[in-house]
């Protein structure tokens, strides 16, 4: 039966080609935009290399202290994270990395090179799984002994050494010479945790005077044992902040802050929410679904209009089917299957177009080292959106067609 439906559907598609083209144009355009959005979103917050554990990684990006109505929010300091983050229960690993306010600019061969530098401990390299092109990662010993070694990304290697291997060579940054220990593949700029041009051992960049106190230039990441314990870790972290050692506060009344997933950090930045409230993720999810539906509205109405005006063309066929005993429901099913099939063709075109558009976006260099993934999750989300769109745009015309009275339908009249 399904085979028959498909045969009929193709006959209908080929009957008026210009018309089929118009419908496909609308469908593939809509799905292209949606698939691009899904892929960009997945590339930004999804579990993609090197952040393969992104769904159970929690970040501490800032802490806010308050006194009366005065508030001061800033990235946390090393001592604070060492005492309150590294000791959290239910975690596999905890890492502290530093991101200085003043990033190095290096002059090399009369060129100006701006670099983003991160100080990292050994755990950082276990939570983030970079792809090494040469050399190896920063180890426990490197951090303990404050070895002046560094890991650079491919782009930085290109800038300093051309395409030759860099391991063992030296880079000078902020008056310090670092020996290159390894080279990793570029990470897109929008991966906040993983992105950098140069990684060095944390102990070589930590300002010893700035260790004390709640604020500093550090960030914390922990890897939860599994996804289910995340709420427990959050609760524990928040209660620790409530009972924070007054010595760290330096005269302020108290501290608030959250430990958050990559997705939550993303939503917080999006809504420009302060870090004291962490319940925005649900709002944002609702917002995304709403946006998708609103975006689909115009293409769907467009497609509904096209399909409705096509009823006449098929009314005699429907009349015959009905006369020979097909029920409204059978016809409804058939017409919806037809529409799904049609939309899926548009969906395939959508995948191809979005792949091309994202390829252009990547090569334009507008976003540094941008890389967009087309993994299984993006693919299945794309298929889901295609089906939603098919139903959204197909049910009303199918319902009107299926309800045609056989007598009028056979006469070729419109209801």
């Amino acid at each position: 039966m399904l085979k028959n439906y498909i045969k009929i559907a193709f006959k209908v598609f080929l009957r008026r080609k210009f018309y089929t083209f118009i419908s496909l144009f609308g469908i593939s355009f809509t799905l292209t935009v949606l698939i691009i959005a899904v892929s960009v979103f997945e590339s930004m917050v999804g579990p993609v290399a090197p952040e393969i554990y992104a769904d159970r990684t929690l970040e501490v990006n800032s802490v806010r202290i308050f006194r009366g109505s005065n508030r001061n929010g800033a990235p946390p300091g090393y001592d604070f994270l060492d005492r309150y983050l590294r000791t959290l229960p239910l975690i596999q690993k905890a890492s502290i990395y530093s991101l200085s306010f003043s990033q190095p600019v290096v002059y090399h061969d009369g060129k100006r090179l701006e670099l983003i530098l991160k100080g990292t401990d050994a755990a950082y390299w276990e939570i983030m799984r970079y792809t090494f092109i040469e050399g190896s990662r920063i180890t426990e010993e490197d951090d303990r002994d404050a070895n002046f070694t560094c890991i650079i990304n491919e782009a930085t290697r290109q800038k300093f050494f051309g395409s030759e291997p860099a391991t063992g060579k030296y880079i000078e940054m902020k008056e310090v010479r670092y020996r290159v220990k390894g080279v990793v593949k570029n990470v897109p700029r929008f991966r906040q945790c993983a992105f950098a041009d140069v990684w060095v051992p944390l102990s070589t960049v930590l300002d010893k005077n700035a260790l004390k106190g709640i604020h500093g230039q550090c960030r914390g990441i922990v890897l939860a044992v599994n996804k289910a314990v995340i709420p427990e870790i959050k609760k524990e972290y928040e209660s620790r902040l409530k009972n924070i050692d007054k010595g760290l506060l330096d005269g302020w009344d108290g501290a608030v802050g959250v430990i958050e997933t990559t997705y939550e950090r993303f939503t917080r930045n999006y809504f420009h929410q302060g870090f004291w409230s962490n319940d925005r993720a649900e709002t944002y999810t609702g917002f995304i679904i709403g946006t998708i539906l609103i975006f689909m509205l115009l293409p769907a109405v467009n497609l509904i209009n096209l399909n409705v005006s096509r009823i006449r063309e098929r009314s005699s066929e429907i009349g015959v089917r009905k006369t020979f005993g097909a029920t409204t429901w059978t016809l409804l099913g058939q017409l919806i299957v037809e529409n799904i099939l049609f939309t899926l063709i548009g969906g395939v075109a959508g995948f191809i177009f979005s792949y091309l558009v994202l390829g252009i976006a990547r090569d334009s260099g507008l976003i540094q080292y941008a890389e967009f993934t087309f993994n299984f999750r993006v693919f299945s989300m794309g298929i889901l959106l295609t089906l939603v769109f098919a139903l959204f745009s197909g049910i009303y015309p199918a319902w009107r067609m299926a309800r045609l009275h056989p007598v009028y339908a056979l006469r070729g009249e419109q209801i």
């Binding site: 210009f18 018309y19 118009i22 419908s23 144009f25 609308g26 355009f29 935009v33 200085s100 306010f101 003043s102 990033q103 190095p104 600019v105 002059y107 009369g110 060129k111 100006r112 902020k174 008056e175 300002d207 005077n209 700035a210 509205l297 115009l298 293409p299 109405v301 467009n302 497609l303 509904i304 209009n305 096209l306 409705v308 005006s309 096509r310 006449r312 063309e313 507008l366 419109q414």
Partner: protein, 390 residues
């Protein structure tokens, strides 16, 4: 004629309602995009109020906070570089995030962006004074903080009156600070080309004895300076102390990345809107085309009864025009609701109304374009052929 069209449209109300719905939604989408584009365009056309070319920002990073002495030395070292035309102090600096505060002035209370500025800033950024004067070192002696405001600030607070010498305070009355206006500049859009031309306040920054905000210099260099000069300046600063490290950023580069980040979303949104409208144009033409081919008999009869080609053409065009008018009426009613309830408070009324007018015009034009080909097909129908179509 018009009554005739109205009757036909009414008789097909269910199908036409869907078409009207499509046009209404298109109108709202277009309106939204138009507001964004016009708002950014109008902002862009407002003069910036400063000159970014050949201006560099030097930030001095240091460990700890006790390096005021080194700051002095850095300043002196910079003065020895012949390629540096002038040195100024300001915080924050253009294209970096601006600060804002609420002020109460002459009975009005409003938000203004502000920055701290030294007496040496004017030549570096090429600021033009409209009225009064720029800061001088003698302003440090005053009890009240000397300020220079922009023309938007003056218009908001004083209208046409002369603002020089007037005093105002912060809106938060708990903080007792008084500001005295000594000069007026034209626009100053510190956040960049696409930001709104907001009220702006330069606050005088005493250089001595109170330390200025440490670690920021803004310099104007000779034209066409290369990275070599950057390196030279950094190397001049570096030996001053182990505690100090310098970083230079060109305002031109900061502007470039700022413009990129502002234009990219507009471009993406514009492209999506363009394809959406194209989709609507194709869709409506398709619907109309099918409707015409369904009505061959009717049109043939009209031709046989003496209607000219032009009459038929006008009829088909008129029908879609009539539906589009209805859709725009609904769309405008919705759009005006937003205006009445101030959902669009961040957009000026003029821009909103201009956007409504332009969007309505484009929608009418589009619906005419959509009906051209179907009307042409309908007008071509030969009565004899049409009447024996069955």
């Amino acid at each position: 004629m018009i009554r005739n069209i109205l009757t036909i449209v009414w008789n097909q109300r269910r199908t036409n309602l869907l078409i009207a719905l499509e046009i209404t939604i298109s109108f709202l989408v277009l309106l939204f995009v138009m507001i964004q584009i016009l708002n950014n365009l109008f902002n862009y056309l407002e003069p910036l109020g400063f000159d970014y070319a050949n201006v560099w920002h030097i930030s001095i990073g240091g460990k700890g906070n006790q390096w005021q002495q080194e700051e002095e030395q850095v300043y002196n070292a910079l003065r020895e570089v012949p390629e540096i035309v002038s040195i100024g102090t300001t915080f924050p600096f253009p294209y970096a995030a601006g600060w804002s505060a609420n002020y109460s002035c002459n009975g009005a209370s409003f938000e203004a962006v502000n920055c701290l500025a030294g007496s040496d800033l004017m030549p570096v950024l090429g600021i033009r004074i409209l009225n009064g004067r720029w800061f001088s070192d003698s302003d440090a002696a005053n009890q009240m903080i000397a300020v220079v405001v922009n023309n938007v600030f003056v218009r908001r607070a004083f209208g046409d009156a002369n603002p020089i010498g007037k005093v105002f305070t912060l809106a938060d009355t708990k903080v007792r600070v008084e500001f005295r206006i000594i000069g007026v500049v034209e626009n100053f859009k510190i956040n960049g080309e696409f930001s709104t031309n907001n009220p702006f306040v330069f606050m005088f920054m005493k250089q001595k004895p109170v330390p200025r905000p440490v670690g920021n210099f803004i310099i104007r260099v000779i034209p066409r300076a290369t990275a070599a000069l950057e390196e030279k300046i950094v190397q001049k600063i570096q030996p001053i102390s182990k505690k100090v490290s310098a970083r230079i950023d060109r305002l031109e580069d900061m502007r470039k990345s700022y413009l990129q980040s502002e234009v990219a979303p507009l471009f993406a949104g514009g492209a999506i809107a363009f394809f959406m409208l194209l989709m609507v144009i194709l869709g409506l033409s398709g619907v109309l085309w099918l409707n015409v081919s369904r009505r061959i008999k009717e049109i043939g009869l009209r031709r046989a009864k003496g209607a000219t080609k032009n009459n038929i053409y006008n009829q088909i065009t008129g029908e879609l025009f009539c539906i589009a008018m209805f859709a725009l009426l609904v769309g405008n009613l919705i759009a005006i609701q937003f205006l009445l309830f101030d959902f669009m408070a961040f957009i000026s009324r003029e821009i909103y109304i201009i956007s409504i007018v332009i969007s309505s015009g484009i929608i009418l034009f589009i619906s005419y374009v959509c009906s051209i080909y179907p009307s042409y097909l309908a007008a071509r129908i030969h009565p004899a052929e049409a009447l024996h179509a069955e």
